[in-house]
Assembly symmetry: D3
Homo-oligomer: 247 residues x 6
């Protein structure tokens, strides 16, 4: 089985981290292909950046999905996942949705803990979009700055642990999701310091991708995720143009 | 006062129609500037197409907003409006949000009537996103094909009137919105054949844009619509790059 | 264009303030007619007082709406607006609904800041009634007393600014509405001290009234805001009796 | 124990029917006092009429509540009940709220069946106001005309039974409320022809009034139903003026 | 009239307290029969314990409901009430639902105050299950330990009063429910120290049981509370087996 | 990895079917242990039967969970899953929750199709309990009788396909879940006759169980799914008693 992780950010080091965590999470024999946006921003944190990232998601999937069994939008609030699900024949999931749905099986209310306050409103819109606001305990963003997106999880570990504990004690979370691809792999290292289950978005997405691929769902030919009618399109890559125009 | 209508579709004739209806709607002295996406699809109707359109929205605003007092995302489900609201210093509204909020002042429950079933799920997500599902009576899509997006309102008028009446009689709508820029200007011609107020998205958006500009709201420097922190970005126009990178 | 502001409170000085702020807000040529309840309480702040005020609203509209193009219920939680919308042939809007719907175009979550704690539950019911609780960040009421309803905005300015800032910082408001007609005109004076857009209820209502009048919506003859069937009624003014009994 | 039924409609025959059904429902020794609005409309069916009725409710309670243990707003969508609950020292309940809360103990989803389509939107707002929309299966209004409000239950019995059955079969109601005071006493006569429990609004309200009186709840001195601060008021009866102005 | 209180806990002293409070609450001539679970836990406080308690509820009702007019599940979050309502021919209500619905007639928002933090999530699920989350101000659990479930109300009185006051002042409760059968009878003793109405779950349930019995609702033969089709069942008492298998 | 499927129904043939479908769904090396309730009903279809089933779930898990990595409540509306999640150290999921959360990754709105109308209300409560009503398109129950629970999927296949198609065409489902363990394995056989993805509850649960086990979530020691405090309990098996009483 081949899983495509499409990182709509331009930071290759984050993609590498995602790939490593995903490889550690999946079953033997599952192959992880991780690709990085050619364009856009180093790390999406706002609605405006997500607009650019969503288009990158489609671009990456058009270029790399052939031969894969399932694809993952590898940025936490899932830019472009709905459009990708329409266009592609294989299942497409978002990292946030995979993490949240996994969390729902581990407790009644989940919190999302992340490392930058700018992301809170964008994440909240993602929770709303998924219809899961009733399951959300809180979104907690660690304040303070960090030197490097590649070392943010080491720099902020203690602050993240504090935020997780506050989510449990003050917000009544039963489970905590660590949000944002730069935190991939951190959950395992913090588990003994937080008193509820932690969900790693990348590991959850990798495993949920395996689930979807293994269930072999058919591509919808009706309903709102059937393939859009073919349309002329300009200003996109040849591969994406092909996706939009094929019958 | 100058209002910018940014049409994220590539069909210039639709932009012309929008401009004409907007000009007829606004106060004397208000100037309408209407621009058309350089790239993308002729008419956005699905989530995937909206991903491409959202990026076009940002591109158009970066190119044309200077000197304008307010901007309108001139496609019905408002692709990119949240991101645009972050980036720009002037108010930005969506055509669907303007139409829905106007409808809320004319009745308790509104229906949206449009001309293609593919748009129903995308429109529904837009209603949800605006937190207005509790005010929605129904979305009714006229079935059947049309020859030309530029004449769809003439071709489908009787079917649209029937759909409006069904929205009132069967779905308990107090007011009906005609959705989709290609229907701009039609509401006035149908008013005597539908027994509740009709809202024209373009006219409502033009007038609401005037409201926002006249109230001179300050640009947020806090909250979720403050300008994003400056970031490097690639693969976008120089003007948009400038928007993302400015302090 | 003539806009009728019907103040269901008995304080003429508040009506005068409303009229002045409305005149400053509207387009050239728009005429503001502002009338004061003959009976009732100086300033509505509770559900019981709103019952009396709602009847005053109908009374004022019956007496003064003839010749007007649109009417505004000029008390913040809109007593009687639904009934007025049924009875009258012209559009009728409430000051709170106009403020809230305007705020929705300026941000995702709005707070309402006002000057008396008694109003909080009544305001909350108004938000609920409009189906906008999902967009509400908070209602913040400044505590403390004031000497005179006519000078409340000067007496409490600093406390109101603090409340606005808390709404942004603690409640995650993107925009703040100053609630209550006695605060009319204050938003402009506070804009540089609050980091998000402020909405003045009277200015927003005046402008939204212009929008509705300019769109020339037809009077519903079906749906829940069609005119009630004529009925005999006693104990009301001749003008209101006429409204209830006409075909 | 004395229960005051305040009928905000002017039809004495409906008040008489209410009194008779209430007397048959209550415990031995409970006294029913039923009073009729001096002014207003024969039968409230719209929002506008409810505005007038709400003021009548306060008027009736001011005149007649002294010496009573509990009061009932005896019109189905409870005009003025919130304000009355603030003003009075005794518990005040609405006929619709009593019926709905009683229905909730008899099943998961309730329908309301009534005899005039004009009442549907007003009833729906009442369900929403009570936060019970999640328990509502449907509101079904029998169409067709009737000769006399006093004989409507006899004239429309078969049509009402059909509507109740449709609520069960098509809308998945577990229990059906007969809405509107003119239908008081009908539930008992229809029970063997509808396959789920029926709730008579008047009987339910009479019994719930007994419950509240027997529990001797204290008058709130905090929270949103504490007595409003005393205020000058004009244009109301001396008794109501007294209620508004007392400490 | 005979009311059956089925306590799914095994603590006879709590049953005795329930019976005493219920007898003091009901009308003259109403008989209270109170029975205690043969098996299970001394006091249900978690979802797992509620699973066991729900089965005890059915068992107790099967053994003792014959000859009774109405039954009450006498543990606060109502374990097994839905199933019991299907199986029995007489009305069955839960103590929590009776308390909450009674509270809804005394104010807009209610809080639940109880004596053990473990119960908070289970109580919250009960509020959700009843569709009343929109009416909930808060659930406040007094922390700290107590020596004996039979004297918990005396041991914790001051702490409970503080929690009630905080519910009013901080959470905007209009009315407070004392949750949990061990607190039965306490509301009356605290009324002068809490500024809003207090609801005693046992007294409310006893009175609501009288209401339901007095209304003589028919047993549903359609809808979701009709009797389940007869089925073979093993591992339950002969009486319960009889309930499941009868036509 | 060992997955325990606990079937709270007494029909061994259904357990066998579950085991076969689960074995076909999981990864190589994953072991399926499937156990059948010793007591209860052949097939749970109502709330009352689910009360009995929930206790059977705890009983089965107490007896068989030792040595397993994850457990599945193998009846569609998940009787007892919340309590089991508290008591056990390993993850516990319900078949319905696993199916619904999987469906959420395949589309926006899901329908549940099943084979007996009695199950509709119980299923709906399960959807509500999981906070997923906003994602539900419909629950459709095929009417008509079947001879044998073991052959129901063959007997009703055409009717189930029709129901699936109606869910897509009339209810706007993007994905359909076949509900109820007796339908296990049917989804694969129907895929080419229904135009959207189908979710098999057993296969989804088996795969989701693997996900949870592979993520090695820690047992909560805080939050609402921490182990209940040890309590004396009677009337349950020695193994279950042990679970309730251990530290």
């Amino acid at each position: 089985m081949k899983i495509l992780f499409a990182n709509p950010n331009t930071t290759v080091a984050v993609t590498d981290r995602i790939a490593a965590v995903a490889r550690a999470a999946v079953s033997p024999g599952t192959e992880i292909i991780a690709v990085t946006a050619r364009h856009g921003v180093p790390y999406i944190a706002t609605r405006a950046e997500a607009v650019i990232g969503a288009a990158q998601t489609l671009d990456l999937l058009a270029d790399h999905a052939t031969g894969c069994d399932v694809a993952v939008v590898a940025a936490f609030a899932d830019p472009g996942v709905g459009g990708a699900r329409e266009l592609l024949s294989i299942p497409v999931i978002g990292m946030a949705e995979a993490a949240m749905l996994t969390a729902c099986m581990l407790g009644r209310r989940f919190s999302i803990v992340t490392f930058a306050t700018a992301m809170e409103p964008w994440y909240r819109e993602c929770v709303d979009y998924n219809g899961l606001s009733g399951r959300l305990a809180s979104i907690r963003c660690v304040t303070g700055t960090f030197r490097d997106i590649n070392t943010v999880q080491e720099e902020m570990r203690d602050a993240l642990i504090d935020a997780c504990r506050q989510a449990v004690e003050q917000d009544e979370a039963d489970v905590v999701i660590l949000g944002g691809a730069p935190l991939a792999g951190l959950a395992g290292k913090m588990a003994d310091r937080v008193p509820v289950p932690l969900v790693d978005g990348v590991a959850a997405a990798a495993r949920q991708a395996e689930v979807l691929a293994s269930l072999h769902p058919r591509k919808a030919t009706a309903g709102s995720f059937r393939r859009p009618d073919p349309k002329p399109i300009t200003g996109v890559s040849a591969a994406l143009k092909q996706l939009f125009s094929r019958q």
